[in-house]
């Protein structure tokens, strides 16, 4: 187990380092990142002064090392627009996004898992076909469109829910559904595949032969075994939900880091955008490591395989 854990952590460290490097490359791909950080209409002197101040007149390798050194000290740079550390701005908005992602994950798991189970249990029937249509729709409708439709129906026409804002729990409902729909489909598909696989195994037939009802076999054995692959999906979906918040938060005026990312792009505050990308990617790496550990703890074949 220890060897497996260390190997996986090293792999995660490589991924984090790689993410940091890719973000650096992207920020420099336009040639001069200073131009990304000045307000529109700045004079040539102002630009030159800022370039010097931020070290963008140094050789690229020096800049890269300074960037790495800064990150090692949790120094993510100062927002050029607001004159405060970029990380502080992002962290002040992060709780809203976590709140939204938690709501969306609840929707996705709460609807996706039962749908997947029902599809597997009713394989080949009309029930499966109907649910398959729901799943397909979930993965084919863009989040901004479902967001607009939800607002039109439940806020404008029926006046049941608020169009935007974060005041109450009812404000969380529509953004969670819009954001969670795609993940719901993923969970349903994974759950269905996992369960169909399990149902085809010998122990199911053996248990049935011993006289257990199908219901008992599913409840006692199949569900537990097919839950394992779903853990991995859940971990990956957390990252996707945080990233998907960029669009959903814009539609619902939700004050999380997704909306902040778009606002910062518009006000040309790219250090803030950079922090958001780094942060979500780190969370993504961390959750997938956590999922692998959980997976290994449950299933001895994984930790003993190496």
């Amino acid at each position: 187990m220890l060897r497996y854990a260390i190997g996986r952590l090293i792999q995660a460290a490589v991924a984090v380092f790689g993410v940091i490097t890719i973000v650096f490359v992207v920020m420099h791909v336009s040639g001069d990142p200073t131009l990304l950080l000045v307000p529109q209409g700045a004079s040539a002197e102002e630009i030159a002064a800022l370039r010097h101040q931020l070290g963008f007149d140094q050789p690229i390798l020096t800049q890269y090392l300074a960037y790495l050194a800064g990150l090692a000290h949790f120094d993510f740079g100062i927002s050029v627009v607001q004159r405060v550390p970029a990380i502080d701005i992002v962290l002040s908005r992060l709780p809203y996004t976590i709140y939204l992602a938690a709501g969306a994950l609840t929707v996705a798991v709460g609807a996706g898992i039962p749908v997947g189970i029902l599809m597997a249990a009713n394989k080949g029937t009309l029930v499966e076909r109907a649910l398959a249509a729901v799943v397909l729709t979930g993965q084919s409708v863009p989040t901004f469109l479902s967001g607009i439709l939800l607002i039109l129906i439940f806020a404008v026409e029926l006046r049941w829910l608020p169009t935007s804002g974060v005041g109450s729990l009812s404000a969380l409902i529509m953004p969670s559904i819009a954001l969670g729909a795609l993940s719901m489909s993923t969970f349903a598909r994974m759950m269905r595949i996992a369960m169909v696989d399990e149902l085809g195994k010998d122990y199911v037939r053996a248990a049935r032969a011993r006289g257990l009802s199908m219901r008992a076999v599913v409840m006692r054995h199949v569900l537990r075994n097919s839950a394992i692959p779903v853990i991995t999906v859940a971990a990956l979906e957390i990252g996707n939900l945080l990233a998907g918040a960029v669009i959903v938060e814009t539609v619902f005026a939700w004050p999380g880091i997704g909306q902040l990312a778009i606002q910062s792009i518009q006000s040309r505050d790219f250090l803030v955008v950079q922090v958001i990308v780094l942060l979500i990617s780190f969370i993504y790496v961390a959750t997938s490591v956590a999922a692998d550990f959980a997976y290994a703890a449950i299933d001895p074949r994984i930790r003993l395989a190496r």
Binding site: I22, N240, G244, V273, S281
Partner: protein
């Protein structure tokens, strides 16, 4: 007519009706995009400020019928959707092409040469997959600035790792087959073996990935354009039409509804087709 239809049906009897339907939908949308300049009833950019936000079916000045209504500048929505289809499909198709080219080449090379090439390429794949794609695309498009070809490049270069994983795994399997060994012994070079012999044998799984990616690329382009980061006016894609329509959605639902409907119909059809291809070509595959 019915005879002709029956003849077609006989030839395609092994294909389920639902697949025929989605294939027809996709074909119609593609044809509409290609033929846009000839079938569009009006110039998509011609503004008529007196006919703003007219509902579908309105007959405008000079006897023009706005079949799907007009937008906030009085432009004919049907024509804008037809021209927008070219941009949406064009971006999706070209970016899938870019990521297939990059991803499959890297995957085959990593699977064939193994050793340090394998380590470097597959680590890079892991790293790329650690950044949520939509986020990387948002950052890159924001840095580079908007535009058709930049969008293609950004989407193409953020989405190649999935192809690499599949091409890599498939190449590892194919590399040990006798006819590959034979052609290696016959003195064929690595590139010849990879592109002449390996590629045709791994094309099925790659086609499956490309199909599901195509649907995703349509959604990505629409999302980026909706955020104002993609296609810029006066050019328009379905996403950018909806982005404008969102501001008027309470007064003029059609500006969002029709391009949105086209988009969902197309993505839905592509996903159905992709699922079917997966079941047909690769029944045991679990690639995601």
């Amino acid at each position: 007519m019915t005879n002709a239809l029956a003849a077609i049906r006989r030839r395609t009897s092994r294909v389920p009706v639902s697949i025929l339907i989605v294939a027809v939908i996709i074909a119609v949308i593609v044809a509409a995009a290609i033929l846009a300049p000839w079938i569009a009833p009006a110039d998509p950019d011609r503004q008529a400020l007196l006919s703003r936000l007219k509902p579908p079916g309105t007959i405008g000045r000079g006897g023009v019928t706005y079949l799907l209504g007009t937008d906030d500048l009085g432009r004919d929505l049907l024509s804008r959707i037809l021209y927008g289809a070219r941009v949406s499909l064009g971006v999706a198709l070209l970016s899938v092409f870019v990521s297939t080219l990059v991803g499959v080449t890297l995957g085959m090379i990593a699977g064939w040469f193994r050793g340090w090439v394998d380590v470097v390429v597959m680590r890079l794949v892991d790293v790329m997959l650690s950044i949520p794609a939509i986020l990387l695309a948002v950052l890159t498009v924001a840095v580079l600035g908007p535009g058709f070809f930049k969008l293609v490049l950004v989407l193409g270069l953020t989405r190649w790792p999935r192809y690499t994983r599949v091409a890599y795994a498939q190449t590892l399997q194919v590399a040990n087959l006798p006819f590959i060994k034979a052609s290696e012994l016959a003195g064929a070079g690595a590139m010849r073996i990879l592109f002449r012999h390996v590629l045709p044998n791994i094309a099925g799984p790659i086609l499956i990935v490309a199909t599901s990616e195509f649907g995703l690329m349509i959604l990505f382009e629409a999302g980026l354009s909706f955020l104002g980061l993609g296609i810029q006016p006066p050019a328009s894609s379905w996403g950018s039409i909806m982005s404008v329509g969102r501001q008027f959605v309470e007064r003029a639902w059609w500006i969002v509804a029709f391009p949105g409907g086209c988009l969902v119909l197309l993505v839905l059809s592509v996903n159905v087709l992709g699922d079917w291809l997966r079941d047909r070509l690769d029944p045991r595959s679990r690639i995601r």
